[in-house]
């Protein structure tokens, strides 16, 4: 912001007046008789001063609004935005840790099931490392908010306790050398403590952290995009005012000095006109870039990441359902509840839900007769290639639910071994395809997000030179336009 430097208050103009009705003619000169000769330079100075003030407003408003746009892009695109998305990974990593522990306990000493016990243990370690990294991100985002910081601390403490319980359960399970299926009661008891800690305490907090930190992005977006749009209006108003004053000056000079055109002044007018127009266009584009980054990118990435994390917990609930027969009803119920938050169709039991999913996925894309995360996504098709990507997710989800139905049928029919084999085999594969389709869809939105931020950054490129450059040039040209005329009065 270089407003005052660019607008040296001209000597005869009452300094610092807002543009408006040009100030009253200069007070009559003390000397008499030469009144007319003295008023002309004074009026030139007045008009010039007013033009310079108006131009200063124009350049100042532009610089400020560009600052707003830059700030918005920085926070949403480079600082908080990506970090918020990273905290969504915390939930995912935690939930997968718990799912892998359940798998380890369910597989027991068997070696022929799915990818096997060792791989589940490896994945547990990998997720634990990811969770630690994500906690660090969350801690950084929570700076300055004591409530959030407290939540981060509690998650860290709880994670320590969880790891201890999980390690005990795994060790005890290993010693028992049981066949695939429910482990001994002592193991189940330990795992219950672990999974309750995870599902009732840690996962909710991790989820809430993402929601809380998303606030920063939303508020920044609302503030900065409103400021950019207001700025665009101010730029337009100040630009028009400057143009009106410069044209007034041009006409005044033409009448007084009987010249057709003042070329320097004309050039200054042109510069102001072009600058105003391109400034307004730029700010309009930046507001749109911010909107796209926020609505089509960030919001969708975050919502779908949450859906993905919940999906992962559902997959874990399938293992827990087989692992702990006494709690099977509860795990089945939470599975249904989570399914309904991912893709909602009415129905209080899984049987009704499976049928509902088959129906609504079959009707898509003619009809979007479902709610939940996938419903919101399917209703909001804004990106190229989004429709097939959503279609792939829905189809894979339906397949996953069909396999789930089969697994539960086997379990209820007493074919526990087949149910476990299905869970570790085909069902795991169909979950992976669903997860992959979801990751692709998230990547699509991530691309839109990155694209909007990049185009926002690119559009701003050069403007920190253009604004002062145009300001200095316009001021110089205005002076170049009036100085020769004033010199006629020396």
């Amino acid at each position: 912001m270089t407003i005052s430097q660019q607008a040296p208050a001209p000597p005869a103009a009452p300094a610092g007046q807002p543009p408006g009705p040009p100030p009253a003619p200069t007070p009559p000169a003390p000397a008499t008789g030469r009144g007319r000769r003295r008023t002309v330079p004074a009026r030139i100075w007045t008009l010039t001063g007013a033009s310079l003030v108006a131009a200063a407003l124009l350049f100042g408003a532009t610089a400020l609004s560009i600052g707003n746009a830059r700030e918005g892009l920085q926070v949403i695109g480079h600082d908080a935005g990506p970090q918020v998305v990273a905290t969504a990974d915390l939930y995912f990593a935690l939930s997968d840790m718990d799912a892998q522990v359940a798998n380890v306990l369910l597989i027991g000493r068997e070696t022929s099931l799915g990818k096997g016990r060792q791989q589940a243990l490896d994945r547990y370690d990998q997720r634990r490392a990811e969770a630690s990294r994500a906690v660090l991100q969350a801690a950084e985002l929570a700076l300055g908010d004591p409530t959030e910081q407290q939540t981060v601390r509690q998650v860290l403490d709880g994670l320590g306790r969880y790891e201890r319980l999980a390690a005990q359960a795994i060790l005890l399970d290993q010693q028992s050398q049981h066949a695939a299926g429910p482990p001994p009661d002592r193991v189940i008891e330990l795992y219950r403590q672990a999974t309750d800690l995870m599902r009732l305490d840690l996962l909710p907090k991790a989820y809430n952290l993402t929601l809380d930190s998303g606030t920063i992005v939303r508020e920044t977006y609302e503030d900065e995009s409103a400021a950019v749009l207001t700025g665009r209006f101010l730029v337009g108003a100040a630009g028009l005012l400057t143009l009106a004053l410069l044209i007034g000056l041009q006409i005044f000079l033409a009448r007084r000095f009987r010249r057709v055109l003042n070329p320097a002044l004309l050039l200054a007018t042109l510069i102001i006109a072009v600058f105003t127009l391109s400034g307004m266009l730029l700010l309009g584009r930046e507001a749109e870039n911010l909107r796209m980054a926020k609505d089509d990118g960030f919001n969708s990435v975050l919502a779908l990441s949450r859906a993905r994390a919940i999906g992962n917990t559902m997959h874990g609930d399938q293992s827990r359902y087989l692992l702990d027969p006494q709690r099977a009803d509860t795990y089945e119920q939470v599975y249904l509840d989570k399914s309904q938050s991912v893709l909602y169709t009415p129905g209080g039991s899984l049987d009704k839900y499976y049928a509902g999913v088959d129906k609504v996925v079959g009707e898509w894309p003619e009809k979007v007769d479902f709610l939940g995360f996938h419903g919101a996504e399917a209703r909001n098709l804004t990106l190229r290639d989004q429709r097939p990507a959503v279609g792939a997710v829905l189809t894979a989800y339906e397949k996953f639910q069909q396999q789930d139905r089969q697994m539960r049928r086997l379990a209820v029919a007493g074919q526990a071994r087949q149910a476990i084999a299905l869970r570790m085999g085909t069902l795991a594969q169909s979950f992976e395809s669903y997860d992959k389709a979801l990751v692709d869809l998230i990547a699509l939105h991530r691309g839109a997000f990155d694209g909007a931020i990049r185009s926002g950054d690119d559009d701003l490129g050069g403007w920190n030179v253009i604004v002062p450059g145009a300001a200095v040039l316009a001021a110089l040209l205005i002076f170049a336009g009036i100085v020769p005329r004033l010199s006629e009065y020396r």
Binding site: G16, L57, L64, T151, E222
Partner: protein
């Protein structure tokens, strides 16, 4: 440079925020609660009391309100009351559902209740979970769907005995006309109240009922502020204190850590 200062002020700040009105801008807050739900929201004389009421008082105080008016929010009218602005917030055993979310927004949940079963203390040893109700009499409250989850969704062969209200069910349970009452655990605990010797909750939860705070659709600032207050209610131990105050004596398993929020907007 007064003009420039004006623009600075206008462009720099002040213009942020949505155009949506927020409850946070109000002077007085109107909160909808249940008038007839012991332990949760109950009108006694001119005053309301219960867990929902205490949570509402805590949250509104955290939001900075000293003037709060409580009014009854009947189940069937909750969405309408919020949409028409008759109430600002609803704390009334208001379960978050996807259908309701199309009409109103939800802060919280501030508690996740579960459907559970209340039996006579003498039967508590033989009834471990809902499947043990097979062949027994289950109370069916007119207009409530809770029994469906047992008989239709869990396919447990129970005999239904109709009753006009849950307090009537409790009376029938004690007299032996029914063997079990099944609905949200907090509601059961509220009705069971002091009767802890004669009746018992079996602690076999089988659904999640996420009690949310209803708020007008689009008031994201208000919704997030309520979430923050709920987080603090759990962090400073108030939630645990209130849960034990209202439901402690019944032997119900209470969750004293913050629930997973629904998310605003």
């Amino acid at each position: 440079m007064a003009g420039a200062a004006l623009i600075l002020a206008a462009a720099g700040c002040g213009l942020g925020g949505g155009d949506q009105q927020s409850i946070l801008d109000k002077e007085v807050l109107v909160v909808g609660v249940k008038p007839d739900q012991p332990g949760l929201g109950l009108r006694k004389g001119g005053e309301y009391e219960g867990f929902d009421v205490d949570v509402a008082k805590y949250v509104t105080r955290k939001l900075g309100f000293e003037n709060v008016t409580f009014i009854p929010a009947p189940s069937a009218q909750r969405e309408k009351m919020l949409q028409e602005g008759q109430v600002d917030l609803i704390f009334a055993t208001y379960s978050i559902t996807p259908e309701r979310k199309t009409k109103v927004d939800f802060s919280g949940p501030y508690y996740v209740a579960h459907q559970d079963t209340l039996v006579r203390a003498s039967d508590a040893a033989v009834i471990d979970n809902v499947r043990d109700l097979k062949g027994r009499n289950l109370c069916q409250v007119t207009g409530s769907n809770s029994w469906r989850r047992v008989k239709e969704e869990r396919k447990v062969a129970v005999n239904l005995v109709e009753a006009p209200s849950y307090s009537d069910c409790i009376a029938k349970l004690k007299s032996g006309e029914v063997d079990a009452v099944s609905t949200d655990d907090l509601i059961l605990a509220g009705f069971a109240g002091a009767e802890t010797r004669s009746v018992k909750i079996i602690n076999a939860p089988f659904t999640d009922e996420r009690y949310g705070v209803g708020i007008k659709k689009g008031d994201i600032d208000g919704c997030e502020a309520v979430n923050k207050a709920i987080t603090e209610m759990y962090q400073d131990g108030t939630a645990e204190k209130l849960l034990h105050k209202w439901f402690g004596p019944t032997g119900l398993n209470l969750t004293t850590t913050v629930p997973q929020f629904e998310g605003c907007g």
